[in-house]
Amino acid sequence: MRSMKNSVVVAGLAIAGLALGACGGGTGAGNAGGAGGSTGGEEVKTIKLVAAEYSKDHTKAFWDAFAKAYKEKTGYTLEVQVVSWDNIDQQSSTMIQNNQAPDILNLNAYASYAKDGLLYDSDAVLPASVKSDILDTFVKYGTYDGKFYGFPDLSSARAFFYNKALFKQAGINEPPKTWAELEADAKKITALGGGNVGYALPLGPEESQGEFSMWLFNNGGTWKDGGKWTINSDKNVETLAFLKKLTDAKLTQNNPARTNRADAFDLFKSGKAGMVIGFSPLAADLDKDKKVDYGVAPFPTNDGSESKTFGVTDYLMAFKKPGNEKAVKAFYELYYQPDQVNTFIKAEGFLPVTKSGVEAFAGETKLKVYLDTLPNAQLTPTDDPTWDKVKLAVQQNLGAAMTGDPKAVLDKLQQTAENGG
């Protein structure tokens, strides 16, 4: 009896194993172009969305409600799979390897996918009224090779956060306007002792390109200018050298090159950091904790000129699959309805991507500092597929400048970019 029981278990496992194998294999990894044309095939009634998890509480709730509305209004079914940010690169890559791309993928990059010819452009799936409603900045950065592929789902803009209590203790009356003032303020706060840190500088691999973007934009620098990479421009070298100076003078937290953004935020939330670059979700956390009395201001510039902000959007891109064009178009038509897109953005604590959204959010006083800067926000060159690799190189290598030579680090990154990643 016992051996029979065991056999049944083994047989069950074997079947499960085979099923898993089959799932992993799918139709097999075809070579380029395997994604198929947009016109062929029967019309698809069910499409799949792979969405990134912005928050445990809201993301899944929103997409489930959205799927229900989508079914009611259009008759199509939307399968929703929510994936954490830690895993989404790996999952999306695996799906495409196995020729099992979702119909719609929510990610922080799109240009490489457009380059590989996997995506629909706006002419095919985006209603004209929606396209004209999306903020011009985002249309510009969502356009690859003359066509608009990167449809933004939400956006964020960075701003300068400072700890009012520490500022008061250190005798500082207002947030800095220039880098020199920032450095002086950081000195005063660090001098308070007790583990207080002037400026929390995250240059670890999580998102060092974000931190550096904010600094270099406010020194008049760029990553790429008019088709040419400018990573090692004099302005950028000056910017990175300034960050090294802050680090060497111990005005930052310990080991900035090995600090991820989340750790820097934790430091600020614990009330130990005087200044940090944050965004609206950090403000939401701080408001919830009610521990730190903080202020939000435009980021100081090197020479005191007008501040610029670093904007970020994520994308909802549409994969070309036989017969899914109508269902995908219906998806975007519904998503960009103000009551959908703005509900999502509001729940997640981010910023709008449409002109109508900016108007709808205008009443939110807390968001004013970001909204004012949003239409002129500068983005990283997300419209260039090379950036998808350069970004990874920056994340892995930028921190090395804190213990090495800023110019050499940027020269190497420039070379990576010029070689196409």
Binding site: S7, V10, A11, L13, A14, I15, G17, L18, L20, G21, G24, G25, A29, G30, N31, A32, G34, D89, Q90, S92, S93, T94, M95, I96, Q97, S112, Y113, K115, D116, L118, G195, G204, P205, E206, Q253, N254, N255, A257, R258, T259, N260, D263, L267, S270, K272, P385, D388, K389, V390, L392, A393, Q395, Q396, N397, L398, G399, A400, T416, G421
Partner: protein, 337 residues
């Protein structure tokens, strides 16, 4: 007629049709020798097709979850992939060449050796001491043994994340205690300082490897007959002599098993290194396993094909270890006869 009688004789000798149709094992046709071994062989003997039927689930399992993925892995290692994961064409052996030419390969291999040797060696030494302690009867021994299992039962990711918090520079309890005891004046950056990172990871590796090792050793110690020990005591052997000349040699099988299995586990360990090293850029503290992962998903290469090639190298490395393990198992069977 002789032929016919032979036939009848045969059928009467081997009434089991399965056995008759089965292999030509002469032993089963010699009923005169009353050997236990022969009888066991006959009972276990079935028609090959029947055998295949019973083996089918196991074979399907091996084909489905071992062979098929291995073939896919090899296939992937010979492909050229876009950063999105799209296969663009065939790459021949380029991916292998790129892995071998990778500037950080030396660091990664050295890290792997340091990691495996340090974790396994320290685990064995501490495991031996703790096992010796846990076989002695003392009040509450059962609870201590339970407590020892806990690191084994907890998920590696959770354990690693807990250690990240313990090691933290700003609020970690380890730094807090060390500063409280005035052993250090400024906190130690356990995970961010290059001279400490590997040490900090090895500590966690040892912590999670200990339970299994200790229980292998407890079993090994339990198998040592008491009379040998008593005889040695009567002959006037000192405790240290008894340990060195009796306990350790008799523990050899347990030591071998613990070492080889730990080498395999530790070599394949992904979560500890990935979690504790996640703030550090580049490959400075990666082993071949995390190197493979980063090649596919995190590094600027972001190349599935290269990662698959690295995966093939990993399989080859671990095959060597498994071969050694099988050899040891053989050795055990021979000695236990």
């Amino acid at each position: 007629m002789r032929f016919a009688s032979a036939m009848t004789e045969r059928t009467t000798v081997t009434p089991d049709p399965a056995a008759a149709a089965g292999s030509g094992d002469p032993g089963s046709r010699m009923p005169s020798r009353p050997s236990r071994r022969r009888r066991a062989g006959r009972i276990g003997q079935v028609h090959p097709l029947v055998a295949l039927l019973w083996l089918a689930p196991a074979l399907a399992l091996i084909l489905g979850v071992v062979l098929y993925p291995a073939i896919k892995l090899f296939d992937a290692s010979r492909g050229e992939y876009s950063i999105t994961g799209l296969r663009k064409g065939d790459a021949g052996w380029d991916n292998y060449a790129k892995v071998l030419a990778h500037p950080d390969l030396g660091t990664v291999l050295l890290n792997t050796v340091v990691w495996v040797v340090a974790v396994v060696a320290v685990t064995i030494v501490i495991g031996l001491a703790l096992a010796q302690f846990l076989v002695k009867p003392f009040p509450g021994r059962r609870f201590v043994r339970w407590a020892v299992i806990i690191p084994w039962a907890a998920s590696l990711i959770i354990t690693s994340q807990l250690f990240v918090l313990l090691y933290d520079y700003n609020y970690g309890i380890i730094n807090h205690v060390l500063q409280g005891l005035h052993l250090i004046s400024t906190p130690i950056d356990f995970l961010g300082n290059d001279s400490w990172t590997m040490f900090s990871m090895v500590v966690v590796g040892v912590f999670v490897s200990l339970p299994f090792t200790i229980f292998v050793f407890i079993a090994g110690l339990g198998a040592i007959p008491d009379d040998v020990m008593e005889a040695a005591t009567v002959d006037g052997a000192s405790p240290w002599q008894r340990y060195w000349n009796i306990t350790l040699p008799l523990m050899r099988p347990a030591l071998m098993i613990a070492t080889v299995l730990n080498v395999i586990y530790v070599f394949n360990s992904f979560p500890i290194i990935y979690t504790l090293n996640d703030r550090n850029p580049g490959y400075l503290h990666d082993t071949t396993i995390t190197f493979m992962y980063k090649l596919a998903f995190k590094s600027q290469e972001k190349d599935v094909g290269m990662s698959a090639a690295a995966g093939i190298f990993n399989v080859l490395l671990i095959l060597v270890v498994v071969a050694i393990y099988l050899k040891i198992i053989n050795w055990r069977e021979e000695t236990s006869r």
